[in-house]
Symmetry: C2
Subunit: 231 residues, 2 copies
C-alpha cells in the first residue's frame, strides 16, 4: 500500500466509490480536479454485489492509484431493505425516510475514509451524496455534509494543524441529468456502472426499483441514450 | 442480538468499552445513570490484547445486556505506536500529538456506535475521552465531542426526528483521581482492568508507559491503594 512520503504534487484524494453511476462520475470529477485518486468501497452485505464487481473493474480501468474495499459488520448498521432480503425493495417513490436507509452509513464511510486519508496524507475525500434525488436519507443532506466538515476540522491531526481534510460533495445539488451530462463530458462509460438495488449477479438492472427509475429518468432528461444493461 | 421493540423503560446506552480503567468506570456510570448497557469494544490490532480479554471478563461480570467487538481493518487507521510494533511506546511524557495517536480513531468508534445505537434504539452513547490526561489527542478534546454531537443531530433518523442520540462524555473534565474515586464509589474492581500500552498477555502492566504512569498517579492522588497487577 501507499504511505505518506515527501511528495509535493499532485494532491491525493479518497473517493467513496460504489461502482454506481454517481460515484463513477464523482471519481472522474476528482481526477479532473487534478487529484491522485484512491478509491474506497464498502462491503456491508448489500444485495447487489454486482455493484462491487463493477467497482473493481471500473477502478481498474480508471487509473486510480489504489482501490480498497472495507467489510463492515452487518449487525452494526442494522436492518435495511438494501441488506435484508426479508424486506422488499420499494418499486415506487416513498415519502419520509426510505426503508433502504442504512443506519449511520455515510458517517461510518466518511469516518473510515478520514482514517485512511490521514494515513496516506490525502487532502480531500469525495462523497457522492445527492440532496435532490435522495432527499429522504438524513445523511445525504447539506446539513450532514456541513456537520462532517466541522467534525473534520477538529477530529484529526491535519485539522488541528490547520489543514483539515476537505469533504467534497460536488454532486450535492446536481440533478441526475446534470450528473450524467458531466460524466459524459469526462468520458465516463455508464454501461459499466451498476445502480440497481437488485441487479443480477452479472450486473444487469431490474428496471423497476427507485435507483433504476431515477437513473433512466436522468438519461432521458439529459437527452442521452440509456446504456444500462437491463435484465 | 437485541433489536428494537416497543419497550418503554429503561433506556438503552452503548458504552465504548476497552476494559481499561476509564471505560470500566464509564460503564459503571452509565449503569448508575439507569441505562441498560450495551458494551462495544474494538479490535484494531492494538498490542495489548490483554485489554480485550479484560473487556470480555469485566463485561461478563458487570451485567451488561450484550458485549460486542468490532474488528477494524488496520491499514485504514494506519500506523501508530499502539498498533505498530516497530514504533516504541513512549515511556515519558511527550509534547504535541503523541505517536500513540491512531488516525480518526474516536470518529470511527463513535460512528460505528451510532449505527448500532440506531439499530437497537439506544438513546445515548458513552465515550470515555478525557481532556486532562490525554490532551495531545485531537479526538479527545471538548471541541471534538461538541462537533460529534452536532453531527449526531443531523446524521441519523433519530436526529431528524428530533431525538438525536446523546453523546455522553462524563470523564471529559475529570482527573484520573476523580475517575478512580467515582469508580470506587460505584464498586469498580480496578484489579480487573488493564490500561498498560504493553501489558503482558495475562494482563500485567509494565509500570513504565504513559498509561501506567497516569494510572498510578491517579490512585496515588486519590489516596487509594493501587490494585494494578504489575509484571
Amino acid at each position: 500500500m501507499f504511505v505518506a512520503d515527501s511528495r509535493t504534487l499532485p494532491d491525493r484524494a479518497i473517493v467513496l466509490f460504489s461502482g454506481g453511476l454517481d460515484s463513477t462520475t464523482l471519481l472522474a470529477m476528482a481526477k479532473a480536479d487534478g487529484y491522485e485518486v484512491f478509491a474506497l468501497s464498502f462491503d456491508y452485505g448489500q444485495r447487489h454485489n454486482a455493484e462491487l464487481s463493477a467497482a473493481r473493474s471500473i477502478a481498474g480501468a480508471s487509473g486510480v492509484v489504489e482501490h480498497r474495499t472495507i467489510g463492515i459488520v452487518l449487525w452494526c448498521i442494522g436492518v435495511s431493505a438494501l441488506t435484508d432480503e426479508s424486506i422488499d425493495v420499494p418499486e415506487a417513490p416513498t415519502s419520509g425516510i426510505p426503508v433502504t436507509y442504512v443506519p449511520a452509513r455515510n458517517t461510518v464511510f466518511l469516518s473510515l475514509a478520514m482514517g485512511w486519508a490521514e494515513v496516506i496524507e490525502a487532502s480531500a475525500i469525495y462523497i457522492g451524496v445527492n440532496a435532490i434525488d435522495y432527499s429522504g436519507y438524513p445523511d445525504c443532506r447539506p446539513a450532514f455534509i456541513d456537520a462532517f466538515r466541522a467534525l473534520s476540522s477538529v477530529a484529526t491531526k491535519a485539522g488541528v494543524e490547520g489543514n483539515p481534510i476537505r469533504i467534497e460533495a460536488p454532486l450535492l445539488h446536481m440533478t441526475k441529468a446534470d450528473i450524467v451530462t458531466r460524466g459524459a463530458e469526462l468520458g465516463v462509460d455508464y454501461a459499466a456502472t451498476v445502480s440497481c438495488y437488485q441487479a443480477t449477479p452479472d450486473g444487469r438492472a431490474c428496471g423497476r426499483c427507485d435507483a433504476c427509475r431515477l437513473r433512466a429518468e436522468g438519461f432521458s432528461a439529459a437527452g442521452m441514450p440509456d446504456p444500462t444493461r437491463y435484465a
